[in-house]
Amino acid sequence: MSDHGFAFLDGDAKKEIRRALLKAVALPGYIVPFASREMPVARGWGTGGLQITLSIILEQDVLKVIDQGCDGSVNAINIRNFITSVTKVMTTSKTSRASIIQTRHRIPEHELRENQVLVFQVPYPEVLTTVEPDTAQQKQMHADGDYSKLWVLLYEDTSQYGDSRISNRYPVQVNNHFVMDPSPIPKYDIPRMDNCPALQLFGAGREKRMYAIPPYTTVKPLKFDDREFKIEVFPGVCCERCGARDVFFDEVRLGSDRRYFCSDTEFCDKNMEKNDAA
């Protein structure tokens, strides 16, 4: 074991992250700058999520880490190992048992509950980046509630392609005010952010920003009134392993062969258990 303190970060580093977290919760969807510390994993590999998790975690927490919905993915394993090595907390793959879930690109299929915290790893915290790269301009646009450039993008895509071309990181409006980037989750997960009983925290280490969605907060995708928000669907597809339908799937291609499996591996495991019991 190390001679580093509990949860790696020094006390003042945590206080700085905690300050930003409290502001983020009080300002749903607003991106709060913070002094992001260098972590021993590379920038872009989840250092924002990691800093949040390490700043909120307690000895009694039960941790779940997923990447693309999978507990066993190498990056998830690596991050989980690092967190447990500096905290000795219990880990689980069961969504229902976890008190902190750090995730990359997915929200677990299993419905979240109160007293759970979902920590997202975020590559691009600023929703306006694609339409306005300048930070000062972005701040002004948020202050003015001026999301017209996003609407133009949406309009252009809709008129050319019938729908937005944004496949993930779909812009959402939080609490009818700030528009934010939900992190690269699929559109499938967007409605599941809305009015969620769990606290959702977002960390972008490289960009030195964090933001939050408090529990029971409205989260709506940006869309025209006369258009339906279409999530990914997999018509006729069921998981080859557990038989689930209407969830988000991983596609596996081996040559010309295409197969589908639940992207949320724990959800899949649970279905298997149920199948076995039946």
């Binding site: 190390s2 999978c70 990056n75 339409v131 993008l153 071309r165």
Partner: protein, 351 residues
């Protein structure tokens, strides 16, 4: 007076070189093997940016430069000028690589598998041990990987989901024999980038990832491994294997757009290739390729990385280093002229 100045200068130069070499003296005892094997990523950067594959020369360059990678790459570039170019090796292609590492971020499982290979991606960067290592983990055996693994992007290609850009060139351009004029042939840009400086490529690619441009790549297929260099035996006319070289390739997948050929929607891809193991560079190159060869998807934006004029002139480290350092040359004359202009202007404006 001028005689003295020249003599003084030449003595000083000699002494300076001697001083430089003396200060690196301890490095001269480091053997080729230690440098080639132990500092493999330094050697690979040098060979890639020097655009010449020679492990012996890379090691020698490292010793001579005290590990200054750009300066070392410069040695290799310069050495190229002394060698006769005998011809071309037979065509290298990614699928013929004997794979050490191959990953795809696009699909969970792919034909040939996700092979992590030797990688520092999951190293916890701490001097003090943190994560407890599993004791005595023996290497589990698996199916061997070898060569002939198709790119993970090929399955999308087979489904006609990838834009195939028109190949407008009969012969690839060679920027080391003549430099192209705009519009720059694709092969010239690709060659300049595979010789490009890792840091410059990374910085330009990063602008595109971060908002100045709109490339949000998915790594379709990234691999490192060995490729065979083959040549034709002059007396039998048959292919002969000359040796194996280390290379890195990357295929990135971007957003979809209308394919200019038939107006159908397909995904854009970009390609990166470099000598040696250098994933950062190959990924950066694939992103720059995509940014330059597929028109932007964003509204507005200042696409630095999508401008071939910017990329072709600014990623070569040997050139940018040389020019940056040239400012150390005397500029007494031009600066004196600057001062004169300043004085004149002051007379006018400070009245």
């Amino acid at each position: 007076m001028s005689y003295v100045a020249i003599k003084g200068g030449s003595d000083a130069i000699q002494s300076s070189i001697r001083f430089f070499q003396n200060s690196l003296r301890q490095g001269q005892v480091i053997g080729d093997e230690e440098l080639q094997k132990g500092l493999i990523f330094s050697c690979d950067r040098i060979m890639g940016e020097g655009a010449l594959y020679s492990e012996t020369l890379a090691a020698e360059a490292l010793r001579r430069t005290g590990g200054d990678l750009l300066e070392a790459a410069f040695y290799l570039r310069a050495h190229r000028s002394t060698c006769k170019r005998i011809g071309e090796a037979t065509q290298l292609s990614g699928s013929s690589m004997r794979i050490l590492r191959r990953i795809s971020s696009a699909f969970k499982d792919i034909e040939g598998g996700q092979i992590l290979g030797p990688s520092c991606d999951y190293v916890i960067r701490l001097f003090r041990g943190l994560v407890e290592e599993d004791e005595g983990t023996s290497l589990s055996s698996g199916d061997p990987v070898g060569a002939g693994v198709p790119s993970a992007v090929d399955s999308l290609r087979q489904r006609d989901q990838i834009v195939l850009l028109e190949n407008k060139e009969e012969q690839p351009f060679d920027v080391s024999r003549s430099f192209p004029l705009p519009p720059y042939p694709r092969s010239a840009l690709m060659q300049v980038m595979s010789r490009g400086e890792t840091g410059a490529m990374l910085a330009f690619a990063y602008t595109s990832m971060r908002g100045y441009g709109d490339v949000h790549p998915t790594i379709g297929d990234l691999r490192i491994g060995y490729m065979s260099v083959e040549f034709i035996h002059p007396f039998t006319g048959n292919k002969v294997k000359v040796g194996d070289i280390r290379v890195t390739t990357c295929e990135a997948i971007g957003s979809f757009n209308r394919d200019p050929r038939d107006g159908k929607l397909r995904l854009a891809t970009g390609f990166g290739f470099c000598l040696g193991f250098n994933e950062t560079k190959a990924i950066s190159m694939s992103i720059l390729d995509m940014a330059m060869h597929h028109s932007g998807y964003s509204v507005g934006g200042m696409d630095i990385a999508a401008n071939p004029e910017i990329i072709i002139h600014h990623v070569d480290g040997i050139e940018s280093m040389g020019f940056t350092n040239h400012f150390k040359l005397p500029h007494y004359v031009t600066f004196q002229a600057d001062l004169q202009v300043l004085l004149k202007a002051k007379e006018q404006s400070d009245e």
